[in-house]
C-alpha cells in the first residue's frame, strides 16, 4: 500500500512539476502556480510516507498555503498578457532542458546505485522527535535561523518602504 502511494505521489509531483514549468496547454502563470501547489501537496504526501509527519504538515501550511498565496499575489500584480505573449528562446530552453535531463540522469543513477549506510538512521519525524533534535543537536542552526529571519525582515521593510521624498 505504501509503495503504491509512493508511486502515485511521486508521479503526481513529477507531472505537476513539469506542467508548472512547461505547460503545453496554457501560458498562463496562474496555471503554473497552481500546478506548483499540486506538486507541493504531492511532495508533502511523500514526506508523510517517509514518516516526516511534521514536515508534511508544515509543507502544506507554509508552502502550499502561505508561499503560494504570495506567489499568486505577485502574479496578479504583474501584467499577465505581456507574460503570455512572451516565448521562451529556443536555444535557452534547449540548453536548460538538456541540463535538467543530465542532472536527472545523474541523480537517478546515483539513487539506483544506492549504497546507503549500513545502519540507516531511524525514520521518525513527528513533532516530538523534531523538537528533541532541534533543542539538542541542532540548537545552533536553530538560533541562526532566527537571525536569518530578522535579516529577511529588515530587508522586506527596507525594500517595500514608501519613498519619503
Amino acid at each position: 500500500m505504501q509503495d503504491l502511494l509512493f508511486y502515485v505521489f511521486a508521479a503526481v509531483a513529477l507531472i505537476a512539476g513539469f506542467l508548472a514549468v512547461a505547460n503545453p496547454f496554457s501560458r498562463n502563470p496562474l496555471a503554473s502556480a497552481l500546478f506548483l501547489a499540486v506538486a507541493l501537496v504531492a511532495v508533502s504526501g511523500l514526506f508523510v510516507l517517509l514518516h516526516a509527519f511534521f514536515l508534511g504538515a508544515v509543507q502544506i501550511l507554509i508552502y502550499a498555503g502561505a508561499v503560494m498565496v504570495l506567489f499568486l499575489f505577485v502574479i496578479m500584480l504583474l501584467d499577465l498578457r505581456e507574460e503570455q505573449k512572451r516565448r521562451a528562446r529556443k536555444v535557452a530552453a534547449g540548453l536548460a532542458s538538456a541540463l535538467a535531463l543530465a542532472l536527472a540522469a545523474l541523480i537517478s543513477a546515483a539513487a539506483l546505485a544506492g549504497g546507503g549506510p549500513a545502519d540507516p538512521p531511524a525514520l521518525e519525524g513527528g513533532a516530538r522527535a523534531l523538537g528533541r533534535a532541534l533543542f539538542t543537536d541542532f540548537l545552533l542552526p536553530f538560533e541562526i535561523v532566527a537571525v536569518l529571519l530578522v535579516a529577511a525582515m529588515v530587508g522586506v521593510v527596507w525594500l517595500s518602504r514608501k519613498e519619503a521624498a
Binding site: V74, L77, A127, F135, V150
Partner: protein, 128 residues
C-alpha cells in the same frame, strides 16, 4: 509503533480521494449534463455599460499588500519552529532546561528585534 503512526494519516488520504472525486464528478457532470453554449472571446471580456474595454483591468497595486504578506510568511516560519518546542518543552524541562528554555528565549528575543524594527519603521502602518 511507527507503522501504526502512518496509518493515522489514512483519513487524510480518504479525505483527499473524496475531495478529488467530488470535484471531478461535479466538473464531469456539468460538462455532461449542462447546456452547451458557444463562448466567443467577447463573452469573457469585461462588461461595463456596453462600452468596450480600452485597457486591461487592474492598475498599480500598493506595495504594502506585498510587504504584509512577506512579513506574515516570515513570522509564520518562526511560529512553525515554536510548535515542536511546545510539544517537548515539558518533558525536556527536567533534564535540559538551559537548552529548551534558554534556546527558545534567545530565538524569540532575536525575532523580537525584527518585530520591533518592523513596528517602529511603520511596516504595519496601513496608511503609510
Amino acid at each position: 509503533m511507527v507503522e501504526q503512526q502512518i496509518w493515522q494519516y489514512a483519513p487524510v488520504l480518504i479525505l483527499l480521494l473524496v475531495a478529488l472525486g467530488l470535484i471531478g464528478g461535479m466538473l464531469a457532470a456539468s460538462a455532461a449534463l449542462g447546456p452547451r453554449g458557444r463562448r466567443p472571446p467577447i463573452k469573457d471580456s469585461a462588461y461595463e455599460c456596453g462600452m468596450l474595454p480600452v485597457q486591461p483591468g487592474g492598475g498599480r497595486f500598493a506595495v504594502k499588500f506585498h510587504r504584509v504578506a512577506m512579513l506574515f510568511i516570515l513570522f509564520d516560519i518562526a511560529v512553525v519552529f515554536l510548535y515542536p518546542w511546545a510539544v517537548v518543552y515539558r518533558e525536556m524541562l527536567a533534564g535540559q532546561a538551559p537548552a529548551v528554555l534558554g534556546g527558545v528565549l534567545v530565538f524569540v528575543g532575536v525575532l523580537l528585534v525584527g518585530y520591533l524594527h518592523a513596528v517602529r519603521k511603520g511596516a504595519f502602518d496601513w496608511r503609510g
